[in-house]
Symmetry: C2
Subunit: 592 residues, 2 copies
């Protein structure tokens, strides 16, 4: 019932008009001409619409089923993965040495948005594999890389990450899973992990679990946690598969959404594992995966918002209901289309201005990763480290809200499953929770990232905004519609950061009580910054006589909406932050 059209023009606009990809001085970027990227994106868009989308609703209805230790995924998933593998999509931005295509991460991200929009549950199998492979790439020995990466880059073997246990999620220092050294370099892993996405399924020859566990006798708490590679089937030297390892899926969870992905309870019963990275430095290794995963989860928030928006917009153009109060727009029909009504438009413009702004933020972030990884750009690395919790928290919160708003456009039809809008909402909901619940992102941002390296990265961000505002080439329209609101919003962000600096010394809760509002305030400023950049790019295009004036004019109109209707939210976030810890903390826990 739902449809999806890959937003190729919007993505191309970000890649080329905004980021000017092919002119960037980064290895592998020179080939990124618009015609080339368009061919890649167009092909990915086709797969999204023709292969993945048709399996989305059916996967939601059918779900995954555990029978005799085997998880059956929905019909068609395995065949779709075969098609993905044949196209080389899983390794699109992985090194050629292991069979990847070596394209920039920003291209992988753009492609990932489309796949994830069309079928989020399906894409998780592949996304987790990508994350696990990245961790092995960054922390594995040469032998580990050679053993696991070729099969993981091709997605013949999939990957997982195992952190949560029944009694601990965020607080991993409480972990009980243990890893006992066997004297031969291997370990016996024993314990139970829960909420393991893609933990067991029937789509791959092998599953490579990355498992956090404690080596007995190590330091207490989080400092005693190490990371292990624990394959479902043991791997021989020639990469053929050996005996089944001592691990199993004990249960799959019934969930609100992402039914097509198996969320497993994993039992490790003395399973053989191999240390990945250094002993007791498991969190560091896991964070390679986590940081990548957090950005990918942000992308899921955007992706669900995008497909929900497309379907809401199409319905609003099609469904006839009521009359334009300023005069009939469809006088020969029984009523006007929904889209004539100001509140329907208000709703749709909120969605549209969010998705286009968030896409620019996501791809800018991916570009920062490329600059950091391929050029060793420390400034880019610092900036994306700062922005990661903002992207994860803000984009998934707002992305979810947008799926709810999209659902609302359809009225009762948005609530029944037949129209597919409910699934977008139910699937998007998890993105606010996993890879660190959004409250934890806010804590990471305010408690750690803000002050990191002496506050250098937040200062760098403010410098970027300042440079954008001080651009003397801008005309009056850009100044009034974009630079002025951006200036006000970034001033609110600076005031909030200063408030934290001054008040957190007296009581750290003065900062922590405002952390969530700060994350959202920051997110709005980011989108304000990127809309300003996009407006300038659109204006440049119009001045240069670009043929698609309707597209560029729409960018300006959509950006204006964001600046005028969404950015004022920063004032409220600031007011909340400045009320400090007292309103939040004064009630005794017993009186809640």
């Amino acid at each position: 019932m739902t449809s999806y059209t890959a937003p190729l023009k919007d993505i191309q606009f970000v890649l080329h008009d905004l980021l000017q990809l092919s002119t960037q001085d980064i290895e592998g970027f020179d080939d990124m001409e618009p015609s080339f990227t368009n061919a890649v994106l167009e092909e990915a868009g086709k797969i999204a619409s023709e292969v993945l989308l048709p399996l989305n609703a059916a996967g939601d209805t059918q779900g995954c089923h555990l029978e005799n230790g085997v998880v059956r995924t929905p019909d068609g998933f395995k065949e779709a993965l075969t098609q993905m593998k044949e196209g080389g999509w899983p390794g699109i931005d992985m090194p050629e040495a292991y069979g990847g295509q070596n394209m920039p991460h920003v291209i992988g991200s753009a492609v990932g948005e489309m796949f994830s929009a069309a079928n989020m549950a399906f894409m998780m199998y592949q996304g987790l594999t990508h994350g696990a492979a990245s961790a092995i790439l960054a922390h594995g020995s040469e032998q580990q890389k050679d053993t696991y990466l070729p099969k993981m880059v091709s997605c013949d073997w999939t990957g997982t990450m195992n952190l949560t246990e029944p009694h601990c999620g965020t607080d991993l220092g409480l972990m009980r899973t243990k890893a006992e050294p066997q004297g031969d370099g291997s370990f016996k892993i024993t314990g139970q992990k829960i909420f393991i996405s893609a933990g067991e399924h029937d789509m791959a020859e092998n599953i490579v679990h990355l498992v956090l566990a404690k080596i007995p006798g190590g330091p207490e708490g989080i400092k005693g946690v190490s990371l292990f590679i624990v394959p479902k089937f043991m791997v021989n030297e020639d990469q053929s598969l050996g005996a089944r390892n001592a691990l199993s899926c004990g249960k799959i969870e019934e969930k609100m959404g992402i039914h097509g992905n198996a969320t497993c309870v994993m039992n490790y019963d003395g399973a053989t594992g191999y240390l990945l990275g250094e002993e007791h430095k498991g969190m560091r290794a896991m964070f390679t995966m986590m940081n990548e995963a957090r950005l990918a989860v942000g992308m899921q928030g955007l992706a669900q918002a995008e497909i929900a928006f497309q379907n809401a917009r199409d319905y609003a153009k099609d469904r006839l209901q009521g009359r334009d109060v300023t005069g009939p727009q469809n006088p020969d029909g029984p009523a006007d289309p929904l889209i004539v009504h100001p509140d329907i438009r208000r709703n749709l413009m909120e969605q549209k201005s969010f998705t286009e702004g968030a896409r620019a933020l996501m791809l800018w972030g991916a570009n920062l990763i490329d600059r950091s990884h391929r050029n060793g750009d420390a400034q880019a690395e610092g900036l994306i480290s700062l922005l990661t919790p903002v992207i994860k928290g803000f984009v998934t919160d707002k992305g979810y809200d947008m799926t709810v708003q999209a659902q609302q456009v359809l009225g009762g039809h948005g609530y029944i499953e037949e129209w597919g809008m409910s699934q977008f909402t139910r699937d998007a909901r998890i993105a606010m929770i996993y890879e660190g619940a959004n409250g934890v992102q806010a804590l990471d941002l305010v408690g750690r990232k803000l002050a990191q390296d002496g506050g250098k990265h937040i200062m760098g961000f403010f410098d970027l905004v300042k440079a954008e505002i001080k651009d003397d080439d801008s005309d009056d329209m850009i100044k009034a519609d974009f630079l002025d609101p951006l200036k006000q919003a970034s001033k609110d962000l600076q005031t909030a950061a200063m408030y934290f600096m001054a008040e957190a010394m007296k009581n750290p809760n003065n900062a922590l009580a405002g952390s969530y509002d700060f994350m959202h305030l920051f997110g709005h400023v980011c989108l304000g910054l990127l809309w300003t950049k996009m407006a300038k790019a659109a204006q440049r295009g119009l001045a240069a006589g670009a043929s698609d004036t309707a597209f560029l004019d729409s960018k300006l109109a959509t950006g204006r909406f964001y600046m005028q209707r969404q950015l004022p939210m920063t004032a409220t976030h600031l007011a909340r932050i400045q009320s400090g810890a007292d309103p939040v903390m004064s009630l005794d826990a017993a009186n809640f």
Copy 2:
């Protein structure tokens, strides 16, 4: 897995400390002493926790099933209804003449909150019956009242409302269902209605459908719509049941939530119906039901927020994770409870300050209905007419948001169905849609209610707020913490209303584009007003030496949170409103 404890103290505080029920000069209110209302509420709370809650999750999982034209409701629903009937709960605020208990509507509402919190899907059968009975009470002939009301007040027969058709929901003027006069005073009803809650089920002897339809030859559009009583089984003069009427349930919908309630496609194939009220005045009669239903739906929003809050709060007190950054609170345990963390508290305080504020608003609204119905108080009638869209729209939007926030407290456990938090969210979602989607509420508010009777009612509301602010008895704390923020927020509301007045003349879209923000702005001012009243009541209680100081201090602390952390939102709503129609309307529909 979920629990529910009726918030008796909070309800009693609103009824007696805030509304001072027993001293009001309304028929039937003198008996409403705290001891009496407490006995009623306590009994209702017991039924909610012990009878309805245990069926809630099971009803969600099992759902309703249509087999050979018969809808089977979840196990236990029928028996639970029997218990409700035995206690006389369905007719609690209905006239004694028809077997009701004749209690004020405000008591019926307080009881309704508890029942709806414990099992929203179940309560809809009863709630729709109440609405249909109210419409018959207000518009039926004496014979119709005698025929239908005794059985409906007892809930032996249930009721429905039939408005929506496949091609029209909000725009009922497009309706196709027709009612042909048979010359004997009856009509033959033919057409299809969709989204009919409780349209068919196995819990009652008969179902009394109220159906909107057009009598051929009548006026075009909405002015040609009439309302009909269409019973499932024909009713003989002695109220015994006769032949089956020509109507049937064609399908039940798969939905995001409220699975325990059957949402039916109803086919009327020349079914016998009887005019309720006047010909072509069907919307007027239906609005008796709709207005009641809109307030009841607002209550569903509050109810789901309340039960979600209770479960999130309990989890936050129980789950050990991380340490209080200012020092361990549970030094002998492996970690501190979640509730020590500022962002968890921020989340919980948002929920708590909303539910307690919204409860005061809901019960104040119910009290206005009592004043209007029982005393013919025109001012109360005007005020509740103005507030109805605000209550429906704001309380269901925020109520839903709060269920999402509650879910977030549990992290991954909030996403899996086992813990029950997902159901609260999925059930609460419908309240934003049915009985007029919230965008339609905003349109009703700004397009109709604001200017009604020359703007008398909004002026009356501002007078109430002014009187509250100008209260010279208040001390400095009340002034600074409550009156000042209320003053600022109500100034924002007035500025917005003036903006509409000035700008809507130039272009009505200048008002309509801001209607949704206005509804929320208004909602915040309402909660600010009621928190101010509650703060004063708490202070009075403390001054009078009330024994439960912890409870009253908590009211003050919770109210302060709302005033400082939530009320600043009014500034953002105002800024959005003041940007007018341009940002919303400037993009051509083709370019969306």
